[in-house]
């Protein structure tokens, strides 16, 4: 029986030290550590996140969902007026397994009241630098907009979709499956090209902060005030590994409801299990979410980078295959 841990004791100690540093980092900044439920009545509507669901025998068999991130509950705390908060918790994404994915993983998520995206990126950079400091010296951080980077690498404009241009780029770059997989769907094209052509070629040993995502990849980010084709979303990468995803948080309840409905429709179109929108989150936004930015960082991946581990299994006490 494979009862033994999939990681070394050194990795257990590295994880413990990392958690300690993170808690110190936020304690120094007077950001409050919180815990929110992992098992909730509602779940994100994101069409590409698959969840685990169960039911509670004492609650008239109501469906409950293991959270794909603690975002909704944390936003309800923010709307209630708790101030800046962070959480270190498990998140669950069904079907995600591979070198960089385990269906159950550890997230650090934090929200800064009064911060815009750029201030949040500053803080994320400070945290990453603090965590990598001793063991892996990083090159100067690259901060670049999604549009500039995309255009630089591919010559394509990511904000405006042109099927002809995208398809001919794919053909010239040996991306033979792009046309059949992406068709007329702008966001699929962006995901395909970004993950195949851009992400693997980001300069190594460097923190990449990529901000200003195309409006078709909005998630829960505010729309840019000057350019409606851009949303205030940022992602973090080191060595081609996506480490985090942050937003200048959408606080408009009506817009949030619209995005929920749109995603619910997309889920239906691609035959994903049906979900309903989280009315408690909408009520909290209605009551008023303070102006804030938030970000989630995958801590297992940070550990992979810190320990030069080629697979996530090697940093988990028990990866899913032996959980």
């Amino acid at each position: 029986m494979d009862w033994q841990p999939s990681c070394s004791f050194e990795l257990l100690r590295l994880r413990a030290r990392m958690l300690q540093k993170i808690r110190q980092f936020f304690a120094d900044r007077l950001v409050l550590e919180v815990e929110t439920p992992l098992l909730c009545h509602a779940i994100g509507t994101d069409p590409h996140l698959n969840f685990f669901s169960t039911e509670c025998t004492s609650l008239k068999q109501q469906a409950l969902f293991l959270q794909t991130s603690p975002e909704f509950a944390m936003k309800r705390l923010l709307a209630a007026g708790c101030g800046s908060i962070y959480q270190i918790c498990k998140a669950f994404r069904n079907g995600e397994a591979g070198r960089y994915h385990n269906p159950e993983f550890t997230l650090l998520e934090w929200y800064r009241v009064g911060f815009d995206l750029s201030q949040l990126m500053d803080e994320a950079e400070e945290l990453i630098t603090a965590l990598f400091g001793e063991s892996m010296a990083l090159q100067p951080t690259q901060r670049i907009s999604y549009q500039a980077l995309f255009q630089q690498v591919t010559g394509l404009n990511p904000l405006l979709f042109s099927y002809e241009e995208y398809a001919s780029y794919a053909q010239n770059n040996d991306l033979i499956d792009a046309v059949s997989l992406c068709g007329q769907d702008h966001s699929s094209w962006l995901d395909f090209i970004f993950s195949h052509q851009i992400q693997p070629n980001l300069a190594p040993n460097t923190l990449w902060l990529i901000f200003g995502y195309p409006a078709c990849l909005p998630s829960l980010a505010k729309v840019n005030v000057d350019n409606p084709l851009i949303v205030e979303r940022a992602e973090l990468f080191i060595n081609g590994v996506e480490l985090g995803n942050g937003y200048y948080e959408l606080s408009d309840a009506k817009e949030q409801a619209r995005r929920f409905d749109k995603e619910i429709a997309s889920r239906q179109a691609i035959n994903r299990p049906a979900v309903t929108r989280d009315d408690r989150l909408l009520a909290a936004l209605e009551a008023g979410l303070p102006d804030c930015s938030g970000i989630a960082i995958g801590l297992d991946r940070i550990l992979m980078l810190l320990s030069h581990s080629p697979a996530i299994d090697e940093v988990l006490a028990f990866s899913i295959s032996r959980a």
Binding site: H48, L181, D191, S195, E242, N245
Partner: protein, 189 residues
Amino acid sequence: MAVYSTSEFKAGLKVMLDNDPCAIIENEFVKPGKGQAFNRVKIRNLKSGRVIERTFKSGESLEGADVVDVDMQYLYSDGEYRHFMKPDTFEQYQADEKIVGDAAKWLKDQDSCTVTLWNDAPLAVTPANFVELTIVETDPGVRGDTSGGGGKPAKLDTGAVVRVPLFVQQGEVIKVDTRTGEYISRVKE
């Protein structure tokens, strides 16, 4: 045949792709941001031997290919086809030069080799890693030279030409690594 979804893809799995049997070499799960999940798959076309990279939407599936590697004995060539036999059942298979390909130059009658069968028909032939063959033609070497430095070409009884040390003579049997085509040693009769 079974159907395999992207999450079951692993090195060595044989699947059908564009009507050709293929072997998966590498499978990487790729998930950009909160976007569409893909599997980037390195795959070898078993007919052409070419390695290509393909991308699938996660959750897509491919039909399995009925491809098996079978140890067989090489019997003989009739000029057009080469004939092989399963030593346990004495079942015989024939394969043309296109299928045998480069393996031909290492095949000696009665030697064992691996025949890859697709739907019970030969798809490829792989010689044993090491074969023992007789030198039928080589220049006489310099007496006393045992260093092996330099070397000279030697033609073997299967038609293959390998570089051998100068002291190795015509008529001798040598051991060759078929993966590199390199001389390993002399074989004492």
